[in-house]
Subunit: 260 residues, 2 copies
């Protein structure tokens, strides 16, 4: 008798050639059938962009002679949409986005292509998780990949709350130095942006955007703080952006708003 | 004695040449000092993208001999960031993003460059509103522009709740046919996406993404429903994506997650 293995859609925003996605592929192929549909180049900080004004191309990405997956000329959200809408033969059981090089915590969640791919999966009714590694240098992807595999097993068993994805950030530590797991909320420390003004060889002005996250005193249940303290952070993220807490306040404004 | 007029930053995602932003400029210049910093071309559905891998250029956009504003080679979020971080001499009192051609309601809010510009203003501590006109054909921008001016006056007086912007959608009707104003929540009707597969003249496959919003039975307090019924819709939108309602549930998962 043949057991049907779970079918996982793997994507990211660093592009199909990034090492982080290959760490996921290696680990998740042990427990499931997988398909990779990822951007053909780096698409960091693209937010929840989708491609409406340009055609989308899909090519075949190989590593040596081995087929790895579909490379898409679009954003992470495009990848999930086109995978489910045109490329895959059956509905995936989960979407796993990552492993991103760099954390997606705090205000970064808003700009994150990694998270947006998982959001897109959630919108399409597929339980989805985003996985990021909190470093830009000397990444150790394996512990994060193994943790992703563990979370996949749990989510396949339990499902996820409605309209909610899990945004997972793993500290860049060997497995035995990771302190544990914290359920967290999205931190609200801002970026302090700087614009570096330069002159190009043709004497035209241009700017580079740069910035540093503010260092705030944060509670233990904030994503960035958990990561900093060596914990894996799991934040439940939803895509209903309504601020329900202020609906009543705004309704009190109505008489003034409706005055001619 | 010289009165200091409020200072408003106007942006959009349809680009600096779009008629919607000019309707805003005309109306808001009557009540405030304004500055336009907008994308140099259409940037619809870019979500909350920011430009980190490319230099950002800023040029001067004129209409005839009149200086209109700064045209930025980036996304709506970039525009607000670079305006506040590099271009403007003083902090704006408000950010107004629009008037978008097409509604930004329901699931579209997530993909909306118009809303993301207002989100960016909010992140920077500036009270911000997004204004969209619910049509793609025969737009009548003036009622929406006048309503924006009215909301600007109210918001300047009262401020906005913390981390919250107002996402305003105006039906495409003459002023006296608009039924009133509703405070709404973001609808959750999905897009049903289609991918139109074509072959280019060089025999390569490409896809066009297209889609239609599902027609769901919706409550009166949902953004899309209010607009459909001829009301102006105002949704309070926040950028903390945490789903606080499920934190306890996930904490109950921890023993299982932490098992080795």
């Amino acid at each position: 008798m043949k057991t049907i293995r779970p079918y996982l859609l793997i994507t990211n925003d660093d592009g199909v050639a990034a090492p982080g996605i290959h760490a996921l592929v290696r680990e998740l192929s042990k427990i499931a059938e997988i398909v990779v549909v990822a951007p053909d180049s780096e698409k960091s900080a693209v937010g929840h962009a989708i491609t409406l004004s340009d055609p989308i191309r899909v090519s075949c990405f190989k590593k040596g002679n081995n087929w790895v997956g579909h490379a898409v000329s679009g954003t992470p959200s495009d990848c999930v949409k086109i995978a489910v809408g045109a490329l895959l033969e059956r509905h995936p059981d989960m979407v796993i986005s990552g492993i991103n090089l760099g954390s997606n915590a705090g205000i970064n969640v808003i700009y994150s292509g990694t998270v947006s791919a998982a959001t897109e999966g959630t919108i399409l009714g597929i339980p989805s998780i985003a996985v990021s590694l909190a470093t830009y240098t000397d990444p150790i992807f394996e512990p994060a990949a193994r943790f992703a595999a563990k979370m996949v097993k749990i989510v396949l068993l339990r499902g996820l709350p409605e309209r909610t994805l899990l945004n997972i950030n793993v500290p860049n530590l060997p497995e035995d130095e990771i302190k544990g797991v914290r359920i967290t909320r999205q931190g609200m420390a801002n970026f302090a942006e700087t614009f570096d003004k330069r002159i190009d060889p043709r004497n035209r002005v241009y700017y580079w955007m740069d910035g540093k996250k503010e260092e705030l005193l944060m509670d233990d249940d904030v994503d960035d703080e958990a990561i900093k303290n060596g914990f894996i952070s799991i934040t439940p993220v939803k895509y209903d952006l309504t601020n329900y807490d202020v609906i009543d306040t705004l309704n009190n404004w109505l008489p003034e708003i409706e005055k001619r």
